[in-house]
């Protein structure tokens, strides 16, 4: 798909500052770190969750466990015939029962990913609480889902896409707002 960049939403420094703030918020609003665990939603939620955990360790000296969750099997909108569906593994080495989980993803949009992620988590056990942390909330919810920890909230139109690039995956670091070009 061809797109044209409209404006930059976050620079590399801004992403870093946002994550720092979010890490502190998470610990603050969780009453500490006991039973706290971060679940990165593939793909870009994973490096974000890992960075949050490192930051939290930095100021609290606590190792908050990080798991990764692949939601392909839980999506309600799988590909049409043209594309090859690909599933990757979910790696959550700790039990989810009775845990205080924070789902971490890059963008919150319709809420369907979050719903699929919750389905995935509940297949594994019964967490005590599930909250969500995202870098960008762009609105247009189609389900009653909210993120407790939000980096930036922006208004977008239907044709626009929030494009997140992270160094672990994309070899660059920024968040842009792009528009589809037909």
């Amino acid at each position: 798909m061809r797109v044209v960049e409209k404006r930059q939403l976050l620079s590399a420094e801004e992403i870093e500052r946002t994550l720092q703030r979010l890490a502190h918020e998470i610990v603050e609003k969780s009453g500490g770190t006991s039973n706290l665990a971060l679940i990165g939603v593939r793909r870009r939620g994973v490096p974000l969750a890992e960075r949050l955990a490192r930051t939290i360790k930095g100021f609290s000296r606590v190792d908050v466990p990080v798991g990764t969750l692949d939601i392909t099997l839980y999506r309600d909108d799988l590909s049409t015939v043209a594309a090859q569906p690909v599933v990757q593994s979910t790696e959550i080495s700790f039990g989810v029962d009775d845990q205080d989980l924070v789902l971490v993803d890059d963008v919150l949009y319709t809420g369907r990913t979050a719903r699929a992620a919750m389905n995935g988590l509940f297949d594994l056990g019964r967490p005590r609480r599930v909250r969500m942390c995202v870098l960008v909330d762009r609105g247009h919810r189609e389900l009653p889902i909210e993120a407790t920890f939000v980096g930036q909230t922006i208004t977008t139109s239907d044709t626009e896409i929030v494009e997140v690039r992270l160094r672990e995956i994309d070899n660059e670091e920024r968040v842009m707002l792009v528009d589809r070009v037909s």
Binding site: S79, A83, V87, V178
Partner: protein, 334 residues
Amino acid sequence: MLTELANQGPAHIQVPQRLRHLLEVAPLTTEQISFILDQAKPFQEFQRHPLKKLATLRGKTIALAFFEPSTRTRISFATAAARLGADTMNLQAESSSLKKGESLMDTVWTLEAMRPDAIVIRHAASGAAHFVAQRVDIPVLNAGDGTHEHPTQALLDALTIRDRKGRLEDLNVTIIGDILHSRVARSNIHLLSKFGARFTLCGPPMWVPADLETLAPRVVRMSRIEQALEGADVVMSLRVQTERLHEPPFSADDYVRLYQLTPERLKKAKPDAAVLHPGPIIRGLEIDSTVADGPQSCILEQVSNGLAVRMTLLFQLVSGLGPDAPHPASGTVQ
């Protein structure tokens, strides 16, 4: 600034062309096979979840057309479908209208009229899966056609071997038994040869004819089991296919004396050789109980990998099909 959208999906994974059917392994590439085995890993893991139920294929129906009696493969496919959330239509040979003279295609068209999303077929005639795939409009999965191929068995065997031995490349594989009538043997020979395997075939001479050596580049026959097992990385033991014989069966005593896989004979293979059997095993006939239950035996892993591989294939062939599902690159899920 024009760019290509980066987050289109897991672009870091080499994704081969999507399969429409799975009829045989012979034409698959090593990339396609490796992709299927890699994709099976999440499904292997899934078998350990407390709640083994997904909604991925919810609303889809898989027709299980088993024209040959089969318990284990049918249950494996039925469970795979159910765990993916799909419904199944069950046709079983014993209660089949085929016995009343209905042709294969009429039976299949009857099933197709009930609009399943895929057909899994097992049939006694070689080429039956191809026959059906040429005449229906939905994906077809071959669960074993005559003596031709049993692709999901070879894939689950490959997954088992890869997990046990750490690789699929350049293995010495010995197959023992009635190879002439074995679709499992053929599929395994096709699949592993693509990764450079060397095959040694051993069994009663009338069931291990010279023409088998033409199946792949490095296939040889040996008459004595001890020689055949020398240096094997993988040993595959086959069931004596009594239902396929057109002539009087081989004497059980002779078979045990010449071809039974015993602990002593197994010592000729490499010490960490993996022992596989497609099941059901006949203890005391083709395989000694000590070997079947021993540390080198992969028989139970094969069963659980069978479930993972079949879930993978149903997922790959069936998920997202239909005019209503939106394209993943349309960016609605973020």
